[in-house]
């Protein structure tokens, strides 16, 4: 477990499937939960469990975010690891959009970036967010991410077309950024 001041990160477990399904069902579409076709689905518990088992065998880094009282608050991870080009994609999903403005999101982000840059030695981390995910977007910018561009009309829903912003943070920007630079970050017991 990675224990911070405001959160606890631990590897995802099949028992978390109920919570993850709620993230899909509540609060509208989220970029992190779109599939390869950029569709926002409503997977069954069984499908989520299979995804978790598969990710375990593929050594993906999926984490559940808990608050200090042990309540499940979010899902995050590193995926799409490209060893050759030394980058991966990070994602972070909280049940409530306002969480992205708080210390729990900052601490989660710091732990993920620490793992990507300092433990895995990657050179770049990518992230995506829909134009409707303003608080997530602000959180990414706060941590030094910069937009690589917006893909237009990627997702269709009852509110019309939505664009998808892809953001990147490279190692140099990470090291020099005050919010994410080589600070104490989260601690590992």
């Amino acid at each position: 477990m990675i224990i911070g001041t405001h959160n606890v990160l631990r590897f995802s477990e099949p028992e978390d499937a109920h919570f993850y399904r709620a993230l899909y069902l509540q609060g509208g579409p989220k970029a992190a939960l779109l599939d390869a076709r950029r569709e926002f689905g409503a997977p069954t518990l069984q499908e989520i469990r299979e995804l978790l088992i598969k990710s375990e065998s593929a050594r993906a880094f999926l984490f559940t975010v808990e608050d200090p009282e042990g309540r499940l608050r979010g899902w995050c991870g590193l995926r799409a690891l490209n060893i050759e080009a030394s980058f991966c994609e990070m994602f972070m999903v909280f049940a409530a959009p306002e969480e992205y403005a708080g210390p729990m999101a900052d601490e989660t982000m710091e732990a993920l970036l620490d793992r990507a840059f300092n433990r895995l030695g990657l050179q770049k981390v990518l992230a995506t967010c829909l134009d409707s995910e303003e608080t997530l977007h602000a959180c990414l910018l706060r941590h030094g991410f910069r937009s690589c561009g917006v893909q237009r009309d990627v997702l269709y829903g009852k509110e019309g077309w939505r664009g998808l912003d892809t953001l990147a943070l490279d190692r140099a920007a990470y090291a020099s950024h005050p919010a994410t630079g080589p600070g104490p970050g989260a601690t590992v017991p």
Binding site: A36, R37, R38, E39, E84, A85, F87, Q123, K124, L126, C148, G149, V150, Q151, R152, D153, V154, L155, Y156, T166, A168, D170
Partner: protein, 208 residues
């Protein structure tokens, strides 16, 4: 050479297995598109079989594979629409011209144009995207000529020959393609899909 009478697009089928296999084993295929040199011929063959046998023509597939074929020279290349989302009416496109001498020719440009016409007019898609490596200038220029916008610049994103290169994400919306089509309509009129179908029908009637 007249494209409308001698070269056309058709769905790829299992008889194309050996041709596609030879293209996928070509190092250029792996350089410009994807794949890994470590794949064995058996793995490549199984992948193609799976791809060609994916779904019957009357279903809503998640991918469509089209062969560019010439009457005189046989299969020349392949265009694939992948990750088709019928909900978002979108997909990604890959183009591969197997014959190296034709990669910079009008063949590639017109084939892409024709495939886009098929995607927007026949499949009723709204958006087509492509991820193209920066060093593959021919490809991204063709896509730009068709009206696509460079939406993403992913720096140092792909490793080739020990060097990191940028990749560009392109997006083409239906109305942008229509605008280009209207602008260049007079030039490309004889390349239209209707002419291609009429030509194929004529060939069928004339065949013994």
């Amino acid at each position: 050479m007249s494209f409308t009478t001698n070269t056309y697009l058709r769905r790829a089928d299992r008889d194309d297995l050996d041709t596609i296999l030879s293209w996928m084993e070509d190092p250029d295929f792996q350089r410009f598109l994807y794949g890994d040199a470590a794949q064995s011929p058996r793995q490549i063959r199984e992948r193609i079989i799976q791809m060609l046998g994916r779904s019957p023509g009357n279903m809503m597939p998640s991918a469509v594979y089209l062969l560019i074929e010439s009457k005189e020279n046989g299969p020349l290349g392949m265009i694939s629409f992948q990750n088709i989302s019928w909900r978002n009416r979108s997909c990604s496109i890959d183009v591969y011209i197997g014959d190296k001498t034709r990669r910079n020719s009008m063949l590639a440009t017109i084939s892409v144009f024709r495939a886009l016409e098929y995607a927007f007019d026949e499949l009723n898609l709204h958006r087509i995207s492509a991820l193209i490596y920066a060093f593959n200038r021919t490809s991204w220029r063709i896509f730009e000529m068709a009206g696509a916008k460079r939406e993403l610049v992913l720096t140092r994103h792909v490793m080739r020959e020990g060097k990191l290169y940028d990749a560009y994400g392109y997006g083409l919306l239906r109305h942008e393609f229509n605008a280009i089509r209207e602008k260049h309509g007079a030039v490309s009129e004889r390349f239209c899909l209707e002419n291609m179908i009429a030509s194929s029908s004529q060939d069928l009637e004339e065949s013994p």
